[in-house]
Symmetry: C3
Subunit: 132 residues, 3 copies
């Protein structure tokens, strides 16, 4: 069964911590030991795992990605959001996370971030939790 | 069981839409609900998920990757294809996609692309479809 | 069951081939056909699959990543290791690898590398091997 999560983004590029929302779906699934699969069904956003303690980390990630892949660079795509498509392919649209004792088995400093590269928009994340 | 898919590439760098070919393997597997694992067994190519409606999106992705990671940059690797190895590590060589009602659970605009970074060559994609 | 692997890194940025160590855990698991999930529980390192025959490939990957994402670039994060966080999100902290006949189903030239981006440190890799 695939569960759907809604994410509302507020800026052109933004990292949104979705760890607790994903953890809730893991808890609801009743799975104690298994795997949690995440998939972002969009082509101008993504999902990453990184530090959420200092908000500057997420801001540095976005600032540097936006510098390395500029918003405008003589792209051919007429919608004007090619940079977002490129960042999506670099960061990726899916993640697989181990589940142990009913919880996401992340490192101490790790959090799951929805990555908006062409917002603000209403977005979705697909979540599938499987037991061993 | 691991299925093998052949991909013939025609240029030094190229994105090839393999969605329908992967979907056929999913259909042949008979799996209605599960997961589809893709693995590219090469070190100078990769696999990504992105938009396939406007071909300019794929061209912009390649053009920008080729700009950020130049073909020549005083690399040490004697085969002269270090840029392809680097792009392979950035884009990644594997993907996990959910399967629902016998179909790849992709977003409306999402397609699966084989990413050639050192072609033209004869390439392979390994596919494993597992039911829940 | 999640197995833990220890990795000791020796430099600020470094690729360490962990293929044999992962293969040993696959063998110990007794799984003949299945999947091997890797997860790096850190936010300034990652895991990638690439060539291990010519050590220059790994050195070129690191040199180019360190050039595209400079160590210093007016980052806001006070710990001074933002570049490592960014590289971690680009390369990724997890991999899923098929297992066949008790072995990792990698391509001829493929190896699994732990990617240190903020070393030297004592690191861990979480490994979960599941049978079909």
């Amino acid at each position: 069964m695939i569960r759907q999560m809604r994410v509302k983004t507020n800026a052109r590029t933004e990292l949104i911590d979705i760890t607790q929302a994903v953890q809730r779906l893991v808890a609801e699934s009743g799975v104690r030991s298994g795997l949690c699969y995440l998939h972002v069904p969009h082509t101008t956003s993504g999902v990453t795992i990184n530090e959420n303690t200092d908000p500057n980390v997420g801001m540095d990630i976005l600032k540097e990605l936006n510098k390395v892949i500029p918003f405008d660079d003589k792209y051919g795509h007429s919608e004007g959001n090619s940079a977002a498509h490129i960042k999506s392919s670099l960061v990726g649209v899916s993640k697989t996370i181990m589940v142990e004792e009913g919880r996401l088995a992340l490192g101490t400093w790790q959090a799951i971030f929805f990555c908006e590269f062409d917002g603000p928009r209403e977005r979705r994340v697909m979540v599938k939790v499987m037991k061993d």
